[in-house]
Structures are given as structure tokens and as C-alpha cells.
Amino acid sequence: MSDIVEKTLTALPGLFLQHQAAGGSGVPRVSVSSRLGSLIRSITALTSKHEEEKLIQQELASLKATVAAPNTTLRLMKECMVRLIYCEMLGYESSFGYIHAIKLAQQGNLLEKRVGYLAVSLFLHENHELLLLLVNTVVKDLQSTNLVEVCMALTIVSQIFPREMIPAVLPLIEDKLQHSKEIIRRKAVQALYKFHLIAPNQVQHIHVKFRKALCDRDVGVMAASLHIYLRMIKENPSAYKDLTGSFVTILKQVVGGKLPVDFNYHSVPAPWLQIQLLRILGLLGKDDPRTSELTYDVLDESLRRAELSHNITYAILFECVHTIYTIYPKPELLEKAARCIGKFVLSPKINLKYLGLKALTYVIQQDPNLALQHQMTIIECLDHPDPIIKRETLELLYRITNAQNVSVIVQKMLEYLQQSKEEYIIISLVGKIAELAEKYAPGNEWFIQTMNAVFSVGGDVMHPDIPNNFLRLLAEGFDDENEDKQLRLYAVQSYLSLLEIENALYPQRFLQVMSWVLGEYSYLLDKGTPEIIITKLYRLLINKSTTSETKAWIMAAVTKLTSQTHSSKTVEKLIQEFSVSLDTCMRQHAFELKHLQENVELMKSLLPVDKSCEDLVVDASLSFLDGFVAEGLDQGAAPYKPHHQRQEEKLSQGKVLNFEPYGLSFSSTMSSSGCTGRQSPAGISLSSDVSGNSAETGQKETNSLKLEGVKKLWGKEGYLPKKENKAGSSPELQPIAQDSTLVENVDQMIMKKDQSQALHHSEEEAEKQRLASTLFVGLGSESAVSLLGKTDTVSHKFRRKSKINDTKNREVTSTHNINCSSFSPLSNAPYEDNDHLNSFQDKEDIGLKKCSLGSEFLESGLKSESLTELHLVENFSACSLSPPSLFEDNSMEIFHPPHPTLSSFANEISLTSSLLEELNEHVHSDLVELCNNEMLKVSSCKIWKDDCLLLVWLIVNKSSLELKNMNLEITSTENFKILEHPGFCFPVIEAESTKSIQHHVQMEKLFTEEDLSGCVKYKVEEDPYIQLEFSITLSLLDFIRPMKICTEDFGKLWLSFANDVKQNIKISDSQANLPFALKTLQQKLRLHIVDIIGNEGILACHLLPSVPCLLHLRAHEGMAALWFRSSCSTLPDYLLYQCQKVMEES
């Protein structure tokens, strides 16, 4: 480091001391006389938190007055900042001072500036709005001739800097990489590391310079660059394999003591640097024998050199071991590493033991024998007084669990859980136990008991997946029917005995699991039991500590059970009690139960036994209400209108007086039949707002979807009626005391192993040996496979059946059938239009060729909005009206590669086309000028690619000067997502040249039309930045693409979509024929015409990236009935709106 800089820097703290010592007397080293000193002293003297708060509030008030006063000197301000920092450190916010900290950094002399920067870095966070005010100061200081100022600026940049302002300082910092002073180079690298952290793609272009930094002659600069490399290699190791040699050389030099002695820490050369390098080598060598080969030597040397017994060498050794086990293995090294781990594990020093266990945990999956070697130590660690060690040991055991030792390990984990109160530990351990139990459970009883323990301990903090998975496991069952029954029966029995215990409190989740299982599977018990179970559930229900969510679960269980009994007094009582409950949800359940009970047959078919896995078919479009709606319409009811349409009408009504007479009033039958509608599935009645079959009454038979094959079933707990109660065949009940089984299990295992154990150990020793043999059973080389079996599903005890897929398939076929039948009227319809279509198609092809040659067409042809696909129907329909006028039609839009002599845009266009070959392949809009001044022009063009919307920005430098630091930035909004980084920077744009930038835009939120805005900034020579703002309007249609599917697929999709919107709109006479209407839609909305049959047409499109929407259109007597369906709930509404607009316009 340069002497001068070094001296300046070391002198700075001295300045502080002098400065304060000058203020008064006191202890020479410590500036007690300062205000800060007295503040600290008075705080230390206080006894209560309350007094401290009062004092600090006072202090803050006086500080607030001081910093706001206009005559406060910078020196005083600096002093105030220090006190503010202190107050913030104690936890009292002092946001009023933030702006003054920035000012101090801006205006102060060296020392004051330093404090200002420091305060800023402590007060503000990355996204703080005030941070923007700092940018100018930083830019100024970076350009300063005073090295200390440059240092400060670089330091603050590496600590905190607004991401969006990176382009403003990036070139300056890049320059600093070539600075003659090491400290500046090093800080510049650190600043770039910071940029890499917050905006990696902005520093991509300086990767070459990072390499230079890596080879810098100064160790500090090299060390700083390693941080960037570690990060980049972590993301993409393959790109940096060529650097392996360099890293190895550096590590060799470090290990060999070639660095200055200054870097030594307790005579170990640069230990943290070594650790960093070892990590990098590990990442590079992973799964790569060739790269690993290069590193073997240096790793060996590192191991050898780190013989010294000091903590820091252990840290290096640990990292070495980690690297050796990460890279492609080499037996000798592995052996040495294993010895090293052994040393750690056996060490009496507790921190080392911890490291050893951590290393073992990592290594164990590759080398299970190592666990066998250290099994006694592991056993000791299991009973270690320090819970942290225990915890780490359990982590290790978790990795070596297999079917043979699972019960012992799980028991150890449960023991630990019982002592632990820490929520995070409970959550993670409970998750692990549940996972192990599911994978390796040795038997039904054990599994249920373990899960009981999990639910009781994990309670309401555990991950909700655990109970869900457990229930699914029970419900879906395994391959063996008999086994399933046993498991379920055991679960029922164990829950019953748990509920038997007086005053036992169980977590809510556990109660929910119990009530579901009891409701579902208690039929497996002897006959006559429902009553007992209902009583038990009832007791839970009236318990005050039961939450309303759990009550709903219990109520569902009671409902299921009621269907299995004839009459139950408890149920009667329950209904009576809850019919007047204040909880509306419970009241509803009670009423439902009451009504169901009155109709036993219905109830039995609604709640069949053991059908929880059957899939339900829900008719979300509520087509069964079609008749009802049609009836209503017949009676003169108004067709349903979607929300936005109603609003629009309301608005237009506000402007104009309505001279039309009011329509017929609702007939009285409407309201009475409303009740019958209420009987339909309560769970899905919410979708009724999208139903409403409009005025299709007459044609109902021909075009509405009939779902007769589909059973209408009830919400969540509805079932297909099929099987009868099987309770009679269930095996005998064996009451088993809970908890005891688990212990017994373990004991048995221990006993078994015990017999083979040697006898000459002491009693305690023998105990440990026994435990060890149970723990490490199945480990060793011959069973290595099962160890790695965390991923292998074969060892799964409870393997789920692929039932779901089966049912899915069945469902698909059935829907397909329905689809066929529902569309059959269409396919029978006369198909006369087809011939027309074909003949016109031929003509049209010729026409197209002509028009691409015809020069007069070119002038109107650049109009945009055309998709090649459009021409077909467009011409087809146009022909049917007036074929000769086809080419005069201005709306006939065809893209053609732009002609260079065309217009004023000629220059750009030719550039565009040369820049972007894809422009020729895709449909695009013409170039729109967005903003303009005497220097520069920005224009843009939309390219409607099949898979995305591409925006191309052209920036034209019209002047004869160079534009520097050109930035283009798009303002991000919630509506759009720009796939690339929204900013772009050109260091230089030469005179009279053009640059182009592309952005892929995606729609985030549905909208009709939204503006995308942004700005360009540039510099001319050394003048300040000039900024130009622009915006471009994007519409929904920019994101709509035709979806090319066949009629059959259309039918399938149609049935799978739940969201539909129907609307009748008036069409003018000119549109009366279907082809014309379809043409308009295809042309303007980019819908794909799937099929035309008679007076009906089906169309399909999708919203990018892939939200499909289907349209069924029927033209009839001046009306068009539009029917949209989509997987997205809002898209149909938006599209309908567009359709209406288009139809009205044409």
C-alpha cells in the first residue's frame, strides 16, 4: 500500500481523538467530556428501561432542534450524527436526522464527510428513498483528486447503493480498476462485488477485468476479487474451469507462506483466504475428475501444513475435508480426511466436536463406514449435556436412518423434542420424524403411535403438510387391501383410547386428524359403535378450547357417522343445540344435518362409506341450471350481464335519458324456483354469478352442453354411492395402551441384539454397545445403497398408489364421450360452407402473391396488426361479399418486408430489418416515434412473436456528436413483466448512428389498455445528463395469440374449463352472416377459427404465455350469442368486452 495513503488513513482516527480531547479534560484516551460521553454516562447510571427511554427521547428532541437550526455548523452537525448513531443503536429511531447525514457527507470536510457517510450507511437501507440523494455526492467524490475522498466514496458504494443508479457510477468505478494505488483498486473491486450482488447483469461486461483483478500483484485486490469469483462459480461452475490452475497456484503460494507476514494470523498464512480458495476449488471440482485431478496436490499440502493445533487451522482443515468430499474422490485423500474427522470427533474441545459431527453429517452419505468407526462417540454425543451437540448428532442419525434402525432413531428424536421448547427446532424435527416414519415404518402400530407423538408434540406449529400427507396416506392406502384395513382400524382404535383419557388436551390439528379418521373409518369397528363415537365427538364439540375450524371437522365427522346409524339421541341434542348457535357456520352445518337426517336414503347416497378417494366431477358451469335459466328468460327475465358491462351501461345511461319503456318485470315463478336452485351443491353455488344462459331458450336442445352422464354430487364430502357398510368384516378390536408400544418395540429390538453382544463389558458400556448396534444396524459397505436411499423409493414402506392417475384417465375418457355427444348436433349440421371455403382459399393464395408484388399495396400494407394466419378467413369472407374490392380494403393488412425507399422511416426500417432478422419472420407494427429532440430520437415497434411480445426500441443519434452513457430504462409497473433487465446502457453512441434494444414483455395483470413508460438519459461531452421520457400503449390484444387446435381438442378443453361468460349482442345487418363476423374477430382479436358449422363457429386463442380461452359463437336473427370459456376467471370478461367493441365498430 502506498505510504501516503496509508499515513492519511491511519491519521484519521487520531484526528478524532485530538478533536475531542481539545473539547475538555478527562481521561486522555477517552473523550469523556463530549456530549456523547455524558450521554453514555447518564444512560449507564440509569436503572430502568423506562428512564432510559425518557432520557433518550429528551436527547432526540434536543438533537432534532439542533440539526434543524440553520446556524448549526458542520462540526456540530458531525457531533450530532454520532449521538444519533448511538441512539439508533439503542433502538430509538431518529429518522429526522437521515437527511442531515446525507448533507454532511455532501458538504463536510474530510472528517465530517467520513462521519456523514458512516451515518448514511448505518441509517439507511438498500431501498430507502433518500439514498438517491447520495448518488451525486458519490459521483463527485469518485472524481475527486483526493484519494481519501475516492476511498470514502468507494466504501459507501460497496456498503449501500441504490440499484437503479448503478449505471451512473459504473464507468467511474471501472476506471478505478486501473488506478495506481492498490487500496483504490481493491475498493473498486469490492464496489463491483456489491453491484454483482444486487444487479449481476449490469456488471457482466466487466468479467474480463475481474480476471485482471485476480492476477493483480497486490494480494488485497486479488483477495477481494475472490468474493466475486466464489459467487459466479457457484452460479455457473462450468464457465470458470479454465481458472482452476490459477486458483491452485494462488493457494499453493498462500499455503507455502509466500505472502507478506502481515497476512499471518497466529502464524498461519492468510487463513480466511485459504478457506475461500478451498471453497472455490470444491465448487470447480465437483463431479469433474479432470479438474479435481489438478487440485489433489494442493489439497494434500493444505492438509499437511495445517498440523498446528490452533482453532484457525481446524477451520482450514474442516474446509479441506469438505472440499475433498465434494470433488471427485481420491482414495488417499479420503483416508486422510477421514482421519482428520476422527481427530475432530474425538477431541475433548466441544467446538471441535461440533465441527467433527458437522463434517460427519456431510460425509456420511458417501462413506457410511465412517459412522461405524465412530459409533461409540456418536452414542456419547447423543447423551451429551449440551443440547446443541445432541441436535447435531440427531441430524447425523437422520442421514443414516434405514428400515432397521428407524425406531431407535425416531425414539431419540422424540426424546429430544420433549425437552426442547424452541419452535424452529420443533418444526424441523417433527418434519423429519414424519418423513422417516412414512419411509421406514416397521409396522402399523409403530407408525400410528409415532404419528400420534408427532401430532401431540408438533401441535399447531408443524407444517400443515404433515397431517395432510398422513390423511392422504391413510385414505389412498397401499397395494394390500388387508394391510390398509389393519392400519385404519388401528388408527381408529388408538384415537378412541386417546379420547378416553379425561381432561387430556390435544392440539387442534391432532383433533382434526382424529375426527376425520373417526368419521371415515370407524365403520371398521364392530356394529353399534357409531353412537359411542358420536358421543365422544360431541364432547369435543362442546369443549371450549376447540376452535371453530376444528368444530367444522368434527361436525363433518358426525354427519358421516349419522348416516351409518338409525337414530341417535346425541345427534338430536347436537342439532338442537347448534341450530341456535351464534356461529353461523355451525348453525348451517346443524341445519344441513337436520335436513339430511330426515331423508335417510339421500344421506346414505351422499355420504357413502370409504369413498374418500373417489374423484368428484363438479359441473362448475352449472349447466344443470340451464333449464331453470331458460324458463326464467321465457318469463321475460333479463339475461345476465357481467359486471363490467353493467357498469358501462350505467355510465352511458347517466348521460342519456332513457325513452324506452321498461322491460317486463320478473315473474313470480322466478323467486319460487330460486329455492330449488338453492338445493344444488352449496359448495359450488358461488359460481352462479357466471351462469345465465341468456336468450338461447329456443336453441337450447341443439347447442347447450348436456352433462347427463355426469353425476351431480355434493362439495367436499360428497361421494358416489356404491359400496355398503363393511363394518361386519372388520377384525376384533384390541385395546392397546398408547405410548407403551413404542417403548416396547425398542426394548424388544435391544433385547434381540443383546443376545449376540459380548458379555465382558461393564454394565454401562454394554448399554451403549446395545444402543450402537441398534443404531448402526444395516450400515456398512454391503448396505451402502440403502443408505443413500433417501431418494430411493423402493425402500418406502408406505408407497402411495397411483390411484389418482387412474381416475384422472377415466375422467378424461368420460368427458370425451360427453363432449362427443354434446357436439354431435353440430357435426350433423349441413356442411355446405366448406366448399366455398376451399375454393376461396385457392383464389386467395393467388391474390396474396399479387398483392405482395403490387407496389400500391405497399403503401397501405405497412399498417400492422396482421397475422399471416388472418388472411385465410379474411379473404374467404371478404370474397363472399365482394371479392374484387379485396385489395383496396385498407383493413387488409399484410406484413411485408419494408421497402427501403418507402418513407422518412426508410433509414430506420432498413436498419431494423438488418438488425433483426426475426422481424422478417414475425408480424410487427410499424415504427412509432416516441420522443424526439434535436439530438436524438427514440422510436419503437412491437413484434408479435408467437410466444411473446417483443418491443424493439431504436435510438437514433441525429447529431454529429457522440452521445455518452446512454441509458434506457423502463419503469416497472405491476401490469407488465419485462423478462430482461428493464434498464440498458450504451457507453457511447457514435454520431448519426442507430442502436437498438429489445425487451420481451409479458402481461402480469389483465388489463385492456395500459401505458408502458420509460426514459432515456444521455450525456453530450461533459454536460449534465439530458433526460427524455416516453411511453407506449400496450393493449390486451398485443398479448393474444391464436391457438391452433382441432375441433376435438376444443371439445375436451371446453369441458375442462370452469369459468364461462355468455353474452348476446346485436349485430348489424352487414355482419349478419357468420363468416363476416368471424372474420372480424379473427382479424382484430387474433382468434383462431377452429371450425364453422352452420350458423355456429368455434374459435380459440390464448393469452401469452399460455392461458387458453375458447369462444363459441352463434349467429341468429341479428343477434350473436357469444360464449367464452377459459381457465382464467377474468379473461373471458375482458375478451367479451373486446369482442363487443370490435363488433360495434365494424
Binding site: Q20, L36, V82, M89, G91, V148, I183, H227, F263, I275
Partner: protein, 135 residues
């Protein structure tokens, strides 16, 4: 990565704090109180690394002063443990025999903030940098 660096005394008074991830001020005080409570509950024979919520605490005690560093799982515990000691050695050299009061009374406590940059531990290749606090 280091998440925070704390110097807290046995009475629970914070002497120095530096957060490398933004945490709201009121949450900081709660965290600091909880962290020191956790550290105080441990005996000298116990491990200096604690699993705390979703990260780890590495602590070292010097007389009545605890230095606690919060790290995530990518960090090498022992390296951080030694880093703390390195830091204290530097303070000691700077103040020629450092005491808790040095840190709190002197404005330099604030100054020292700047020595701990956002760059993780391993940047401290040795005494070299720490003995020349950066500006």
C-alpha cells in the same frame, strides 16, 4: 454470509451493532435482547455455536462483554469464531489494551463500524487490514 455483528455486555446493553441485512429498528432491540439471553444461558463448557431460528450464532465472551455474530449455513463456524478473536486483537492493539468502555465511550466505536464492510469474513486476510482501519 454474516448477518449481523453485535457487542453486548452481560447487562444486555448494546455496545456496538452492525447489521448487514436490513432489520427494522424495533425488531433489532428484540433480537439483541433475545440473543444475549441465549448466550448468557450457556456455560463455558458448552459449544460456542448456537442454532438460533433459521440461522446460527457464534459467540465469544471477553470478561463481561459478549461478541455475537449471526451467520447463515454457508459460513464456516470456526473461521467466524476466530474472526471474532482477530477483531478483538485489533481493537486491543488499537487502544493498547482494550476495555468495554473504550468501545462505548469513544466515537471510534462508530468508526469501527466502517472496518466491517459488507464483505464477509474471509476478506480479513489477517491483521493487516484490521490494523489499518479503512476509511
Amino acid at each position: 454470509m454474516i448477518k449481523f455483528f453485535l457487542m453486548v455486555n452481560k447487562q444486555g446493553q448494546t455496545r456496538l451493532s452492525r447489521y448487514y441485512e436490513h432489520i427494522e429498528i424495533n425488531k433489532r432491540t428484540i433480537l439483541e435482547a433475545d440473543v444475549i439471553k441465549t448466550c448468557l444461558s450457556r456455560s463455558k463448557e458448552q459449544c460456542s455455536f448456537i442454532e438460533y431460528k433459521d440461522f446460527k450464532l457464534i459467540y465469544r465472551q471477553y470478561a463481561a462483554l459478549f461478541i455475537v455474530v449471526g451467520i447463515n449455513e454457508t459460513e464456516n463456524e470456526m473461521a467466524v469464531y476466530e474472526f471474532i478473536h482477530n477483531f478483538v486483537e485489533v481493537l486491543d492493539m488499537y487502544f493498547s489494551r482494550v476495555s468495554e468502555l473504550d468501545v462505548s465511550f469513544s466515537i471510534l466505536c462508530a468508526y469501527l463500524h466502517s472496518t466491517m464492510q459488507r464483505v464477509p469474513v474471509t476478506k480479513w486476510a489477517g491483521k493487516y487490514y484490521l490494523s489499518y482501519p479503512e476509511s
